[in-house]
Symmetry: C2
Subunit: 190 residues, 2 copies
Amino acid sequence: MEDKLQLLRQHFEEIVSLTDEEWNFVQSHFEFKSLKKHQFLIQVGQPVDFEYWIIKGLVKAYSIDEKGKEHILQFAMEDYWVSDHCAFQHQEPGTIFVDCLEDSEFFCLSLENREKICFEVPAVANFFRIKSNHGYINLQQRILSLLTMTVESRYEYLLNKLPKLIQRVPKKLIASYLGVSRETLSRFNS
Amino acid sequence: MEDKLQLLRQHFEEIVSLTDEEWNFVQSHFEFKSLKKHQFLIQVGQPVDFEYWIIKGLVKAYSIDEKGKEHILQFAMEDYWVSDHCAFQHQEPGTIFVDCLEDSEFFCLSLENREKICFEVPAVANFFRIKSNHGYINLQQRILSLLTMTVESRYEYLLNKLPKLIQRVPKKLIASYLGVSRETLSRFNS
DNA sequence: CTTGAAAAGTGATTTAGGTCACTTTTAGCT
DNA sequence: AGCTAAAAGTGACCTAAATCACTTTTCAAG
């Protein structure tokens, strides 16, 4: 466990500096969780008690429409944060599903604990501020790609940006992430 | 100007508390700017020196594709923040246009000043952290709406969420925001 | 290794929405 | 008030992608 917490500390220290004392305070606010492939981290209608930092593994966050079709909001792997941020922030029942595409391990942070460490340790507030800002920028670019790019170039863009992901995830899920049908993506592929 | 700064202070204090001393320090890091309708706040290829908080007015942030078509990333009005966050964050030339749909006034915050006030005043770091988090949540919902909803329901959703906006913005721009052609939106409208 | 299921590929058909061309309406300016 | 330009509406046609139905390939579990 020590080594896993060390990874998390490194994740923070890529962005801000923490004293040992600060880190000890911070780390004590995380819980460990481990799930097998196909198990759910978050489910629609269930409480969303945590934000999760992924130690290892791979998850998909998605919603299901009226027709039962799956739409992928996010893939998240090692070193990523994932949650139903909306439900989490407002402490409401989940609006999306998050489940494991591989056996995965997480550090879990509750809303209360997040606010506590942010207001106690300014560096942590800055860490989450900067992280959140990066996340915002990424989502803006995804929106622009959905508005401006063809399916084909969106796929190429993703291939470039996250080549490792493509190898770990079935193409039908990539299609769902790109907002296109499995069949159409398959035709571009070849 | 005092009253305008007061509005900005209120904007901060909706989320965090600031002492008078802190506020005086914070406000001194903003610049004022005023633009007429049709003038540009940000242009592709130009430096993006600031993030802008809108005192009054309305702007659109958009990119132009190879075919010359405009795709709207964001509308922003009173009390909103706007910038080319990506270019701003990395201090690179602008990748989008932002121009005024109405005469507008702004408080401008440079990257250097933002980091300064965030690291000097923890409450400000928390303010931007929380703001950024809300922004992230909004963008996630927009992505989900682009992936899961039909044009018609996206339009209804927007009507519900921002009824005031619809009245201030030509429908062809709404269409561009929704990722649909002017003509198609018009047919749903009626 | 075998086998059953999931994933991927592919053809035929349908459809939502785009594009083009034109008309009508609205709104801003002098 | 009158005029111009932008916005909005609308019909005809076109196209990219969805859908459906089926086959082939890959992969994982016994």
